[in-house]
Symmetry: C2
């Protein structure tokens, strides 16, 4: 039996335990003992946290880092550059790119990624022989990087409300929601792979087809993800076409519910917030992307108070750093509200780990407890950034960065040791 | 003669040059050659930037990291905790603390720090035998850490407009501005030490004594720093007492001018912005602190357009990372404006290096040019964060962190090599 000994570990419901031995069997935690000697267990120094879930990823956007951030303009200018990358990828090149991206995630302590995937087809929209080969490449990339993946198969039918797909967008489209569902059903899972479904946005799926996607997701017990009100222009277009907000449109399509995950939710009305809360919709914030793309600051605390669970995603991968995302959720709240302590440390860790795993259909993961997957992240507490604190969890959340992750274990197996990825050399 | 060879270097006015050899004599750059072989020069990989200036530091606040960030409340609640640390320090313990803080700065690429110093006296306000012994400790700390320092001697007379100092504040006070000036004049400089002066804020220096501090600074050719409108409550108190904004009060005291550096400048009126711009006041933003303390987002772009030069400081040291400060200046603008590209990459590097050095009275430093101090920072371009970009400067500004700094040279002497501080072991 494999065992790990943690100098300090974050145990439910939210406390730092010391000298913790974790025995692992079949990838899960089989025994937990506190205040014990390490014995022959593998030693993890610093603070051991449950693995982080990155609940919203577009892997190929990583290729834009250090290129488009310099640009002027807004979200829509950036989108044109993103499409230029999308046009160039094929299954082989996407496997290589995504392997590097997921390895970067592993190095940052992310043990489960939700890939919001819409780059389904070949150039011009011609399906590949295997119409799901692009997401098979993503599953292979996650396996190579040693992390779990939820393939969130995204329905993307229009290039705006009432507008056909064009250019790179042709690669995203299945024609209609029924054909999307038929293709999506043909996918095959794996031990490290689970499925989700998505409506790209109310821009990209006509109102009368949203229900088809939502019902298909419900029938398969998959979570339904939706980009929601990231930009004011989306709200304006929705109001012009349908006379209501995107949230209201999703409510009419009976898509709102506890198995839905709204991405961004930046520009909401008070009624939107009440609707999302009433239906216990989960909301995934992507703070480092939302600031990079000049989206704005969404009402995170209001949504949580209304009844929504929150999770976090690195989305465009301008930065891949779950510590920075946790911090930014709280920091953006501070900037908008003038108050500190809008989310406390246990809440921020919960958002980054357990809630993210829920949003991705791994409800058993994201905490260190008996019977849960042994997904562990050791954060060094002796770096220039983390030294000197007296509260290890607060230090990890408010002072650490991805560079302070020393060891990562997924399903009991070491993936990162002393800051080095054990399977993907020379990440990048 | 000592020489460095840079794989890539950022040269004025703002371009990446390749294969650059820098010869150093008497701490300054004596020759620059591009597209040459390394020969026997010390090799610096990645991108070499000019050393960063941290234009606003309160070294002892570093002791609060991972302690107060977890707190609720606002700026004023945080200030009580900060005072509790201030009460405990003496010259010996401050030397040890500041050495670690400045070594953390060196590791992050900061080669010059501006210490906004007001912890002048012993407990209860009793002067030490040498009344400047606390700042002598700071100078020694900077020497130990291998960086330059500007000791910004701060006049701090009242605990709010019309209120006496109390508690820890007693250690800050000199009684009046004339006694402040007499003490300040007794300081002695060093090769790595220059001087500045400060009015702590309009809260802490009565209106009729601000001019005394400003004139003393002008007479010594020192820059005059002032905390300005960080919190709405400061503006309210100023309006109530004087019937004008803090900026207007400084204008009446004839303190505004190109040798003044306003810190924060978060909550300004349009007239304030025009006044600061008209007088070419420099403005030091502290974005990671301003978000941590829930201060808000100041009008950086407006101030720059009005005629102000900008610089950056890590202030409370919630984070010490000049890359994060550069990014945050732009990202906070994006969040507030909904637009990207408010500051371009050359502008952000200029703000973090040259403009910061100007604000600290080292106008010759902060760029790699003939005759300037050989202060160099090498940023690795092959980390998980920085790999894959095609624009080294954009990658450094938008993707790198302090953890990507590999080598730091100050005045031609190596201070950090391969991420390790050469003089201060086990930083922290």
């Amino acid at each position: 039996m494999l065992s790990y000994w943690c100098e300090q570990a974050w145990l439910p419901p939210g406390r730092v335990a010391r000298r913790v031995r974790l025995d692992v069997a079949d990838g899960a935690v089989a025994a937990i003992a506190e205040d014990v000697e390490p014995g022959d267990a593998r030693r993890l120094a610093g603070l051991v946290l449950p693995g982080f879930a990155n609940a919203h990823s577009h892997a190929f956007h990583r290729a834009l880092r250090g290129r488009t951030s310099v640009g002027r303009g807004d979200f829509w200018t950036w989108r044109q550059q993103m499409y230029a990358v999308a046009e160039r990828l094929d299954p082989d090149s996407y496997l290589r790119l995504a392997t590097a991206v997921y390895a970067e995630m592993a190095l940052a302590g992310i043990t489960c990624v939700g890939e919001f995937h819409y780059l389904h087809h070949g150039p011009g929209g011609t399906p590949y022989d295997d119409p799901n080969v692009m997401q098979a490449a993503l599953a292979d990339a996650a396996a190579a990087a040693g992390i779990r993946i939820t393939l969130i198969d995204t329905c993307y039918l229009t290039g705006g409300i009432g507008r056909p797909l064009e250019g790179a967008q042709l690669r995203f489209g299945d024609g209609d929601a029924d054909r999307w569902a038929a293709r999506e059903l043909a996918r095959t899972a794996g031990r490290h792979v689970r499925f989700g479904a998505a409506v790209h946005s109310v821009r990209a799926v006509p109102a009368d087809q949203i229900a088809t996607v939502a019902e298909s997701a419900q029938a398969r017990d998959n979570r339904l993800h939706v980009h929601l009100s990231e930009q004011p222009a989306e709200n304006d277009a929705c109001r012009a076409a349908y006379g209501c907000t995107p949230t209201e449109l999703l409510a009419k399509a009976r898509a709102l519910g506890p198995s839905m995950v709204a991405i961004h939710a930046t520009h909401l009305t008070d009624l939107d917030v009440r609707l999302l809360g009433f239906h216990h919709v989960e909301v995934c914030f992507c703070p480092t992307t939302e600031r990079d793309l000049a989206d704005g600051i969404g009402p995170a605390r209001q949504l949580a108070d209304a009844g929504c669970r929150l999770s976090l995603g690195s989305d465009s991968h301008a930065i891949i750093d779950p510590f920075e995302e946790m911090r930014a959720l709280e920091m953006h709240e501070r900037l908008a509200s003038g108050e500190r302590g809008r989310f406390d440390v246990p809440a921020l860790i919960q958002v980054a780990s357990r809630m993210g795993h829920r949003a991705l259909g791994w409800p058993e993961a994201g905490r260190i407890a008996l019977g849960t997957p042994a997904d562990l992240v050791a954060v060094g507490l002796d770096s220039p950034r983390t030294a000197g604190g007296d509260d290890p969890a607060a230090t990890a959340v408010f002072a650490a960065t991805a560079a302070d992750v020393t060891d990562v274990v997924v399903g009991g197996r070491p993936v990162v040791r002393e800051g080095v990825h054990l399977r993907v050399p020379d990440v990048g």
